[in-house]
Symmetry: D4
Subunit: 215 residues, 8 copies
């Protein structure tokens, strides 16, 4: 086959194989999904279009699609356990939601309880303060922001939990497709923050899950 | 002479000629200062070393030096008027002070009342809130910050006055000599903010003075 | 709802909430516009297509569209007051007009009188000189230019009012999508100039309005 | 005083104030250290020269200096508790050691047990494999590498613990002062990795400590 | 004609003229192919679409198309000799296959035996180890990888043959269209590696062929 | 010897060999100068320090040094002819003079009449207008400017002669060591302008000389 | 009207107004062309599509279109004079021809005799040598090249005429849309070369025409 | 010890451990050299200063120093075998010689016969042609060039041997510390060329040696 499923990856790294759909034809995604389905492996596909979802549904009928997150998900067992502690997913603006939702869906797929705190960007900082308790009580915090990428610094200065910052490509001009937010987050004056690639809600959730599930 | 003093500049642009010392020998700076002194023109020299100051003092005895701001100043008349309204100069961290002080000294040289609000960076946002009233009452606000350059966005979301953001070259690695703070400020999600060159406290004060002195 | 209208923003920052249409579906824009309409809030939507305008018109019949500025505007009261002082909007070339018009429409939406001085780029500098009086008499000046971004420096050297420079993405090759004009404006040899993001006519008008309406 | 010690920071963020020495005079560092000493606060100063250490020792006699890590450390109580779980600090080459040691010293200052696994760069991958068990048993892993920044990807594919990658400025030419390693780490094909600023051993240790001390 | 076929190039440089299809109309490609066909010259066209292939087939009926490699190939003599030694083509992930296949097809066109070792990226390094013998026995090795571009360093540290690294544009965000992988490969800590342009499977195969056919 | 003098270069390209001193020891420069002196070749060395000049003077006693231009010059015949038409060298600010003088000295070395028009930067455009006739009557114009690099566009719009623009590294922050001025000049909205490397007064003078001496 | 025709530009700068079509609607181009036609002004429009040409032809029937050059041209008088000396236009590869042809058409529009020397790239340098005499006899030389941009250096080392280098955006990957060729040309080791913006055949021809028509 | 000598590296990769001196103290270099000396391992140290050499000589008396190449070399056996085929090392200009010599010394250390062809840059292409036979007869060719990096393309178009291009940091301004030459070489229009890091003469020689010693 054109792709091998690394079924030992879950055991080795704590994160199973996940289908990254860009650059794959819809036939290829369907075929991989089908093979995972038949092998008893749970399915997560990211950056998926509705069209790809339709294709996968033909072979995995119970599969679900989250349009904003652009994720396709299927679990073999519906009564999965969820962590007691939760991952807080904090997002600055409406345009950052696809990335925040990719993180949320990935985190939940990996068995984590998730709390969403959205639309709390720094231009109206009172919105963040009204939600700060729910953020402080999380075990780990994902902060998603585009434009000047300032939100992780403010959050990082208010909590004593690890913060994973996700820059988004939201903006224009000197935003350079998310590079500005990425650089800003790497230079945060608050301690306890690390950063993942632009728009990489998936990657942030993987690390948050490893942290949240530490014994 | 090697440099012509554009004495009409004050009338034409509201800002007189100012001596930018880098790239000039100490003899050249002294000579320009002496000529201005004799022509009855007030003197401001920026980015000056203590050594240059010593040299100028030989010909303009009453001249003063601000070590942190790196400015040399002399006024022919000691009883100058100051504006009623003030320019607030807000700075994020200790390392940003040379730039903030360059702005403060320039603003005062241009006849403005100045209020300094320092060490209020976003990693401890409570420090900013405790000072917000003094910032709100200014006529125009200069915000100086390095690293991720987030402070102007937070300030801009809390006030209804024009904010001039000054990125500083404070930081290392992905800070790129201040480019990161500059890009962040240009992408601010708060409205009413404009930006000047990296470390350009002088330029911010010039524009703030023009605004503060509008009738 | 998917978006919250921050109705206190006008009071807090002097600039009300404005709809930035890119990244929103036409249904979303219509719904936000309808809610603002029913709440008695004036409407400004920027970067709007004609198609989005059609959609909004179904729920806000009196809404108007400026094709070049790409703005949708609606005021509840037609007899609004306008400032006595005006904002001058100076543009270099024909291709810069969409950005200049975005600034003009935003400035007028915020209650300012506006004067347009267009097609006065530095390659034929006599065109600028023939209009300089009208520029000098403004309270604040927005200068819009692409390519080498030289116009703000020339204007800044001729006036004693604050100049807000807007780089545009007009050009090709080493223009780097407007980065060249942005960098040039940040390095202006004239004092009293500050800069906003590439193509950000909206942001320039917000700051100009705050300045123009200072008491 | 020129600097305020934010003594609530430890409680609020889990990380106390730390003295970043670059840009401060040796007198300033000594004065801050003295004040902390007298207030019963433990001292960590990073990026310190031997000369600065000498200065601090005049006022805090028991202070210690780690030349490679460039850290100055003082604890009021010698019988501090250490975590049971440890942070693994993995470094690629000899030139990366100053950054790895900054991370190690910071982690220990924050109360963590630390294991060092050095000189296991990817050009001789067998060296990594001979140490992999000690890495796998850590609670969280810091991976320090310069040049092509490949080590975090290899480690990330072999463990089920969170990996914090630290790019270093080690290299020349197309290494761009560490930007190459930074970009590579942000694009890691292994899941569960996040990244901090170039040479930021301190920042990596802060986040690792927050993770390691999660209940 | 619009293009001259440099028929002496094979003799002079060891590599014949090859048709690079981007920027050429399908009529132009067909015409060049026809001329080569009639002149007894073997045909290789790269970066070709299926549509272009259809067009060429009208004039060169026996021509073949490799969809993944995007190559069009025709040989006048079917019983061509192949080298005894082979070129190993090692690829990191599924998305890198078009570039790897362009290299493979080019190498075979130039008369070389080729061995493909695919899907052995560093995130699951055991996959590489299980194939290492076949790589070591090659005369020259092409390593194709995107994202963080780490694979050539690992391979280079395990073999005593020249390694030609090909960065691919696979990835997003801070991947910068392949620049990240390119920079990483140029900074490889393993000796004996050189690099070609992003996605340039063709160029890697040309150099590998010159090496493989050295007497 | 360590360097070969390409004595045919003058005949072939219109420009003789010239000594670029950076990266050469003072002994090497002296030795090359001596050889040229003895072979009857005129000497121009650029980017030279006073110390190098002292060294050369030991073997070529009549050699002269221009401190600002950093040039060392020697002609075998004092009664050289000079062109009737002149090259105008226009410079924006005082800090651009070393580059302007390098151009002037090179142009004169190559036998051209030169007119200097200095300190006419765009922030005080009236200074340029008062000198425009002398610029218009030149056969070719070199325009030297740093910071925003706007001067060539203004000059180019006022003359019907070829303009060669020289960006300088004068400025700080977003000036990027002259890249900003370079990019601006490449994007000039005026036609008839071409550009040389940053600080390359020598290169501009070479091309200007070829143009000025066209029959 | 939306655009003013600067009819004095020819007299002032030696280059008349020319229609740059990108960013203009086909109606706008037709209207400008019609106005120029009726005012007795010759017409050149660059970067034009066939569709725009059709539109212009409705109002200027004798107008001609050069598909490769993407130029629309009309002269009121067919018996125009042409210069005796010619401009040589040298191009490296087939893909550079649109830019070379834009230069050729512009140069001819401005009244110059033109000689084309195409497909002489440095990978087969013998092709250049077979044409060198025709290049040497030109009065000024335009050299067009993409990829590594090496051709101007080779030409510049062989001729004693001014060389204007035009980088093209031909290439992929590390070619960065022409930036690579641009940088290479600016760093040419040959003297007497200057550079214009990427793909700017028009600009090169304007300067070449000013040079070619110098008395 | 602070560094482990990977004595199996020669067997595994064909290249032994080599001492890269930057970032090591002179004591560390001496200590490593002494250990290698005592273990019967041949010594090569690169980027070495004369001072470091003095230090090493105290413990390895027969060691030699090449000042231009900045290499320290010691062989246990003087009657080493040398390859029959040679590596040609072609360099553009005098300033490129340190890099070319680093390549030459490394190649000879690895047992290769070497031919140097220096000062044959493209600005005087006749110099290259006069030496082309010696280049063609090499088994593999290293081409070293700075500035516009054009030489590898010209050489590559004239030979049927693998070419390894080494960009140097020679140049200024838009040369960007060698990035310009690097990018140019990666975009070479000649086939059969690959590239190593800026100034990496060592790396080029390692790969050339692997190629030259292929059976
Ligand atoms: N949205 C995403 N962003 C980054 N990496 C992803 C994403 N989704 C999946 N992946 C990773 O990509 C791998 C699949 O890559 P591939 O072998 O090319 O299908 C998965 O196992 C994940 O580790
Ligand atoms: N610190 C500063 N940053 C930026 N511009 C400055 C600064 N200080 C002075 N200037 C400007 O530089 C001009 C002097 O430039 P120059 O003619 O080179 O001496 C002054 O008139 C100011 O407009
Ligand atoms: N995929 C490719 N990538 C890079 N260069 C190529 C590729 N395919 C062909 N070429 C080169 O491009 C040349 C053809 O260029 P052209 O004259 O524009 O058709 C061929 O002779 C090859 O050397
Ligand atoms: N292909 C081209 N590249 C660069 N500049 C051009 C080109 N064609 C026309 N121009 C210039 O653009 C001007 C027209 O600009 P505009 O006022 O926007 O129509 C002309 O007068 C020319 O100076
Ligand atoms: Mg909102
Ligand atoms: Mg502080
Ligand atoms: Mg116009
Ligand atoms: Mg080692
Ligand atoms: Mg895979
Ligand atoms: Mg001046
Ligand atoms: Mg060709
Ligand atoms: Mg030479």
């Amino acid at each position: 086959g054109f792709a091998r499923i690394d079924s030992a990856r879950q055991a080795r790294t704590g994160i199973p194989e996940v289908i990254y759909t860009p650059g794959k034809t819809k036939e290829q995604v369907r075929q991989i999904a089908e093979r995972m389905y038949k092998s008893g492996i749970d399915i997560l596909a990211t950056r998926a279009s509705e069209e790809v979802f339709m294709h996968v549904r033909e072979v995995v009928p119970e599969v679900t699609f989250n349009k904003m997150a652009r994720t396709i998900v299927f679990h073999h067992h519906s009564n999965r356990e969820e962590t007691k502690d939760y991952i807080a997913i904090v997002a600055a603006g409406t345009s950052d939601l696809p990335v925040a939702e990719e993180a949320a869906e990935t985190a939940r797929f990996l068995g984590n309880k998730v709390e969403r705190i959205y639309d709390v960007g720094v231009a109206g900082i009172h919105r963040l303060f009204s939600k700060i308790e729910g953020i402080r009580e999380a075990r780990v915090i994902i902060v998603v922001a585009g434009m000047e990428g300032a939100l992780p610094s403010v959050v990082g200065g208010l909590v004593n939990k690890p913060v994973i910052a996700v820059p988004t490509s939201v903006g224009y001009g000197a935003n350079l497709g998310g590079i500005t937010a990425l650089l800003a987050m790497l230079n945060s004056c608050a301690a306890g923050i690390s950063v993942v690639n632009i728009d990489n809600g998936f990657g942030a959730a993987c690390q948050a899950s490893l942290i949240n599930q530490l014994k």
